[in-house]
């Protein structure tokens, strides 16, 4: 056991009698522990608590119709999360304006409960004149922030504020193979400022590997020229480890994905894939497509990070903007929202 480390400086708050120190001693002093105390048990306590309360995750998928958004979501969460619009017997006209549809599920895995909300945007980019088609989306995102803000500034707050803010927005880029279209650039530019945008190349089975690499390169250059920062954003890397990890991810953005929800037999195993005349594209095979990378990023490794950046960065900047505005009731765009008693969600 090392000799006891005497703290080098004794930092004391000098107070007069009766006065109360309003700030703590400037720097905490490092101390050596002589034996096991049990502080690390707090990690288990935390785990138990969070498993009891459950998690909330809200994801939004944006892209033109027919790019495979619903299939992708179903593949990600391995269940029929979204209803696909191309099901037989269901005729859905292309809606005139962008309509957002949110579906919430509660899924559970190994004792971890998650309330998953998927927001779909049918009608995005489908019209002839697509100007301002991102407005309803931006409005929806801001509305979620507004809802959270209002809950937060109440005098009597709920113990756990229901979190409907969009944590991640998956943007589907059509696999043209050339560059990003003006619509894509406009949308991503506007939205990357208020939400975490994860661009993916949809239906990537139409591109060969070389075409795919070239396309990615061009997209990355495009994003850089237009100063669009997609998730994982470089400014929020916390330490060199994080940076190294995120750099590796950033090299691969945007992921080229293929979605499939049907299982086929390959080499004696059942795998998810698309069956074509010239072969079976295995969704979970990293050699075929980058779906596993997307899934790992979104769910297995960076889910908490997505939520944290949404809460600490995007929500805070929304709050700053909102609180700095002079509040003129006539111009408030959110007059139609229900009173706070009706809003909310229960598990």
């Amino acid at each position: 056991m090392e000799p006891p480390a005497v703290p080098e400086e004794e930092e004391e708050e000098e107070e007069e009698e009766g006065a109360v120190p309003l700030s703590m001693a400037p720097g905490p002093v490092g101390c050596q522990l002589f034996g096991y105390v049990g502080i690390e048990a707090v990690l288990d306590q935390m785990k138990i608590k969070t498993m009891k309360t459950g998690f909330e995750f809200n994801i939004m998928v944006v892209g033109q119709s027919g790019l495979g958004k619903s299939t992708m979501v179903n593949t990600l969460f391995k269940s029929k999360v979204s209803r696909k619009s191309s099901q037989p017997g269901q005729e859905e006209r292309i809606p005139k304006t962008v309509q957002l549809q949110s579906i919430t599920h509660i899924i559970q895995e190994k004792g971890v409960k998650m309330k998953l909300t998927v927001t779909d945007t049918p009608g995005f980019g489908d019209q002839i004149n697509n100007e301002n088609c991102w407005d309803p989306i931006i409005k929806y995102i801001n509305e979620q922030y507004e809802r959270y803000l209002r809950e937060e500034i109440l005098i009597t707050r709920k113990r756990k504020i229901p979190d409907t803010r969009v944590h991640g927005c998956v943007y589907f880029v059509p696999p043209t193979g050339h560059w990003l279209r003006p619509l894509d650039l406009e949308f991503m530019r506007r939205l990357s400022k208020i939400v975490n945008v994860v661009p993916v190349i949809a239906k990537a089975d139409t591109l060969t590997l070389e075409e795919r690499a070239e396309f990615k390169q061009r997209i990355q250059e495009d994003l850089k020229t237009h100063a669009i920062s997609v998730y994982p954003q470089e400014d929020f890397d916390q330490d060199p480890e994080d940076r190294a990890l995120n750099d590796r991810i950033r090299e691969k953005i945007p992921f080229a994905v293929v979605g499939a929800d049907q299982e086929h037999q390959v080499n004696g195993k059942r795998v998810l894939g698309r069956k074509t005349k010239w072969g079976i594209i295995e969704v979970e095979n990293p050699a075929h497509c980058e779906f596993p990378l997307l899934r790992d990023l979104l769910i297995r490794s960076h889910l908490q990070d997505l939520k944290d950046i949404t809460h600490n960065v995007h929500y805070e900047s929304y709050r700053v903007r909102r609180l700095n505005e002079s509040n003129r009731p006539g111009l408030s765009p959110l007059n139609g929202l229900p009173a706070k008693g009706e809003a909310g969600s229960h598990l």
């Binding site: 004794e10 930092e11 708050e13 107070e15 006065a19 109360v20 120190p21 703590m24 002093v29 101390c31 522990l33 002589f34 096991y36 105390v37 502080i39 690390e40 048990a41 707090v42 990690l43 306590q45 935390m46 138990i48 608590k49 498993m51 969460f77 391995k78 269940s79 029929k80 949110s102 579906i103 919430t104 599920h105 899924i107 895995e109 971890v112 998650m114 309803p136 409005k139 929806y140 005098i155 009597t156 916390q238 998810l272 899934r295 297995r300 908490q304 809460h311 600490n312 805070e316 700053v320 609180l323 002079s326 509040n327 009731p329 408030s332 959110l334 139609g336 809003a343 909310g344 969600s345």
Partner: protein, 446 residues
């Protein structure tokens, strides 16, 4: 492993202008679907824990107790380290709080521990106000957090949380009952902080007395309505251990940083001529129970209770005090902002009014002064005239007198001249006479 999914649908239609969420109706009918494979979000708690580990934890303990009751020693024993501090003297004029922060690290968990000591508690002759500095300190920490939360540009995620998470109240081992100072202080603190009462220096109490003492204390606390911290019993994993431990409240502890050889091991203990009191022996004292409850089982719950119960209560009271309400009469969307603006305008209006008042008063005063001054001026002028006249009169008088005097003088001079003339005439006559006489004489002689 079976997975089940409940679907709840709600539609939000955006028609380009206002986003009206038509009824967030929740369909409560559940439909069972299954996840057909491993998705992987069971790693979520681990992700969360990793994030927290990299940020580190904060834990703040307040130790309330008389001087010399063993607070510092217990902290040293509890955290298995030596926190350097000199013992306090008994002649403090009042209670003051001393806070010290330490950074502890165990495996990969970093803990920023802050220990707040009450120096001089129970030493004064008049202890009426002993609890006040403590309450003020706790409120000040809540206030600091509230201020940060209300800021426009805030950084809550790397805010150094200084709110007190646990208050260890050291009860003196009298063996009878609680002192009235203890009751009063605990009553004042129970709605602001999680109180964990402990009996200090428990090696001075015999076992049978200890049992009576404990039940007396607990019954006194209950009858006085003091809300001490309840160990949570709603989660199955910790319910059992918490329930068994709660029976032993208040924990009778002995602290020691010295090690004594017992058997063939070194253990923390206190050596007496009649035996050795082992700190970590559950038969000797409840130290192990305290450590379990405070650190190993409930640290996270203590922090959560502080944030969700005590801090929210403080926040609610403070905001209501400042005049904010949740529902405005016309229920505008941003009540905090509105009220704030309204208050600001009110304040500015008041300021303006005060300014106007002052200005008016000032003008009035000036007028008065002016009038006064004018009067004074008039007076002065009058005086001056008066003086002038008097002066003139005097001058005339003087001149008259002067004239008279001159006349007299002239007369006198005339008289004098006349007199002289007469005299000279007389003299001449006389001399003539004398001459004549002389002549006569001479003549006579001749």
């Amino acid at each position: 492993m079976c997975y089940y999914v409940a679907i709840q649908k709600w539609l939000l239609e955006g028609k380009g202008t206002s986003l009206t969420s038509k009824g967030l109706q929740m369909n409560d009918d559940l439909r069972n679907l299954s996840l057909s494979g491993h998705v992987g979000f069971d790693s979520l708690p681990d992700q969360l824990v990793n994030k927290s580990t990299s940020q580190g934890f904060c834990f703040n303990i307040l130790c309330v107790g008389e001087t010399g009751i063993g607070k510092s020693t217990l902290m040293d024993t509890l955290f298995n380290t030596k926190f350097e501090s000199e013992p306090a003297t008994h002649n403090e004029p009042g209670v003051r709080l001393k806070a010290r922060s330490y950074e502890l690290q165990e495996s990969n968990v970093r803990l920023k521990l802050t220990i707040v000591d009450t120096v001089g508690f129970g030493d004064q002759i008049n202890k009426d106000d002993s609890y006040k500095p403590i309450v003020e300190y706790i409120d000040a920490q809540f206030e600091a957090y509230l201020q940060e939360e209300l800021k426009i540009k805030r950084s809550l995620f790397n805010y150094h949380d200084t709110r007190i998470h646990a208050c260890l109240y050291f009860i003196a081992p009298t063996g009878h009952s609680l002192k009235s100072l203890d009751l009063v202080t605990m009553k004042k603190l129970d709605s602001k902080v999680n109180i964990i009462p402990i009996i200090a220096k428990a090696d001075t109490i015999a076992k049978n007395e200890l049992h009576k003492f404990k039940s007396k204390i607990m019954s006194e606390l209950v009858s006085n309505g003091v809300q001490i911290y309840q160990f949570p019993t709603d989660e199955e994993t910790v319910a059992e251990i918490n329930a068994t431990m709660s029976v032993h409240l208040p924990f009778a502890v002995v602290g020691s940083t010295e090690e004594v050889k017992i058997g063939n091991k070194m253990a923390k203990a206190r050596q007496y001529p009649w035996g050795v009191v082992q700190v970590e022996n559950e038969n000797h004292c409840d130290f192990v129970k305290l450590r379990e409850m405070l650190i190993r089982v409930n640290m996270e719950d203590l922090r959560e209770q502080t944030h969700t119960r005590h801090y929210e209560l403080y926040r609610r009271c403070k905001l209501e005090e400042m005049g904010f309400k949740d529902t405005d009469p016309d229920s505008k969307p941003f009540s905090l902002q509105e009220t704030y603006e309204a208050k600001r305008n009110e304040f500015l209006g008041e300021l303006q009014k005060k300014e106007d008042e002052m200005r008016q008063m000032f003008v009035m005063r000036v007028k008065e002064k002016e009038a006064e001054l004018k009067e004074a001026e008039k007076d002065l002028h009058e005086k001056f005239d008066h003086l002038k006249r008097t002066h003139q009169e005097e001058k005339k008088k003087v001149e008259d007198k002067k004239k008279e005097l001159e006349e007299e003088l002239n007369n006198f001079q005339k008289k004098k001249a006349a007199a002289q003339l007469l005299q000279s005439q007389a003299q001449q006559a006389g001399s003539q006479q004398t001459k004549k006489d002389k002549d006569k004489k001479n003549a006579s002689f001749t």
